[in-house]
């Protein structure tokens, strides 16, 4: 899952990025509204974490511009302004969630996960594809009752495919949701992760869930 954080306090930006990346999110950052608005328009983020008091273009304007351009990216406002009036203005301005500073990282994480679920229209934090279960809150996967040990990137890839279960997911869109723009991996890294996941999930004797659609991408399908 790929996030954009727009925040002008570098210290906060740094620790947010660290914490979120450790939770297997791909994180892009912007230190002012102008850069934030540009990145939000260029990439398909799952969630944008947006500060309100920003240099150049303030958060309200970034949000309004995003919505005016038809971007439906989920936006979580993270700000020191905690007046109910500001919350109302933020949510009515097109934000999907509002959290005031100082905040608990745990809570931010849970809210981000909730926004990701909303994006893929799933209410249940437990994703299920046939007998494969993915616990998105704890980043765990089980098949037929057996835990499957996964590397963070493997988990993220699996969660992304599970969110879009039944759809053919292109390599480009996987790339976009797994890596931030600074990552300098080659695109065949995705093939590597897919084959690792396949080995771990489609064990011999189980019904294969992964399908490769030649020239288009991958598909995780239960039936």
């Amino acid at each position: 899952m790929r996030l954009l954080i727009v925040e002008d306090n570098r210290a906060l930006l740094k620790s947010l990025r660290k914490g979120l990346e450790e939770e297997s999110f791909a994180v892009d950052t912007a230190e002012d509204g102008e850069e934030g608005l540009y990145l939000a328009g260029v990439n398909d983020y799952d969630v944008v974490i947006l500060d309100l008091m920003l240099p150049k273009i303030d958060g309200w304007t970034v949000l309004r511009e995003m919505r005016a351009r038809g971007l439906s990216t989920h936006v979580l406002i993270l700000t020191a302004r905690d007046a109910p009036k500001d919350k109302v203005r933020g949510l009515d301005g097109g934000a999907d969630d509002y959290l005031s500073k100082p905040f608990r990282f745990e809570e931010l994480l849970a809210r981000v996960r909730a926004l990701v679920r909303r994006k893929y229209r799933t209410k249940n934090p437990l994703l299920a594809v046939a007998d494969l279960e993915i616990d998105t809150a704890n980043h765990r996967a089980r098949r037929s009752g057996a835990d499957i040990p996964l590397q963070p990137k493997e988990y993220t890839l699996l969660e992304y495919l599970a969110h879009r279960a039944g759809e053919i997911v292109s390599r480009a869109s996987i790339w976009e949701h797994l890596y931030d723009w600074q990552d300098e991996k080659t695109s065949n890294i995705i093939d590597v992760y897919i084959s690792r996941l396949r080995r771990k999930i489609d064990r011999p004797g189980l019904r294969p869930l992964f399908q490769t659609v030649r020239g288009e991408g991958y598909l995780l399908k239960g039936d």
């Binding site: 002008d8 620790s15 008091m53």
Partner: protein, 474 residues
Amino acid sequence: MRSLRLKLIVGSLLVLAAVILAFDIFVYAAKRHTLFEVMDGRLYAQTQAVSRYVEIEGEKPALDPAQENAARPPLPVIFRVVGEGGAVLAQSLLSGSVPWLAAGSGGPNPQWRSVGPGRGGTWRVATWTGRLERDAQVVDPSASPGEVSMSVIVQCAEPLASVSKELRELASLLALVSLATFLIAGGGSFWLAGRALRPIRRVNAALETVSETRLDQRLDPFSFDVELHPLITQLNAALDRLERGFQRERQFTADASHELRTPLAAILNSIEVLLRRPRTEEELIDAHLDNERTARSMQAVVEGLLLLARMDAGKGPPAKENVEAAALVEEIFAALGFQARAKNVRLVQAVDPSIRVQAAPSQLRLALANLIDNAVRYNRPDGSVTVEARQEDGATVIEVRDTGPGIPAEHLPRLFERFYRVDPSRAETTGGAGLGLSIVRKIVEGQGGHVSASSGPEGSVFRLVFPINRIKIS
């Protein structure tokens, strides 16, 4: 309790009472005058009637009632005739009950006096002095004297009881009417006062709709009486000031909470993320360094706020002294030398050594240090900071000039506001708390001076002006 309504009522009733009383006194006096005039006229006529009957018999005047006939008016009921020397020559039957006055000569003629009380109350006595001539009837004293002439005094009296009764009746009538008038007018003024005060209640009701959350409400002067327009205008002006004050306060609170919450969130988040899993020593040191830097920036904000709060509380600045400007600038330059050298900014002291500033030394040092620190901080590399001081138009002027990029004109008016930043994006890199210039202004104004800023492409100039207190200088 001071009550406008009470004052209006009491005031109007006092005026009304005075008017009613004056009217009563006038009516009473006029009536009394008329009654006495009528009675006095009648009594005078009686004396004239009596005088017709007086003749000289022998050497003495005498009354001859037998001469009563159609040619003469009838004798009155109560009269007496007194001769020269005070001897009573004749009197009517009932005259015994009258406390007659000794009839003296002199004074006006005729004259009337109220006497008593005798039997039957107070009496009105008319006294007329006439002259008698032999074989003649009493003639007026002003007539030319005849052969034999002597004075005779005729007195007539009537009881005053009827007049007193009539006056008493008039008094009670007046009292009754006055009281009724007073009561009706009292009720009327109570009602009128209430009516007159109704606009005040309306203003009050209108003001009640203006609350802290709806301070943008204003009263429309044209919905009130014209006499209230100045009041409404003043109220609206006061509301304007109040609203601006609240706005400043809200802005300040929002800014202060942002300035403190954001770094606080950064520290807390850094710690929380750090504690989520085991960390290497390298990671720990890195986080500690970040957090220390963030905490230091919070410290700057907190200390600035505390300083401003202490100055706002207004215990008054410390005692003023004659501060040697040149020495003070040298001192600050020495303290900021490291930062200036790091940026290769030249510090130029162009202060006349004779210049003294009337100010509290510690405060003036803080203000100047803030300005010079800013001038270094926002300067370009290899630039310069020049401090000048001179006497000008009865004031000491200190100027701090830098060779920085300058400040856009639209920012200049708000530059000295708390937390105001020309470019918020530079807050992080320059590390200012956004309070420095507001502290400078607070200090300088506390010392009776004022501060201003101007800017151009060649840099900015901050100008401190301290008026010279001539009495102290001499």
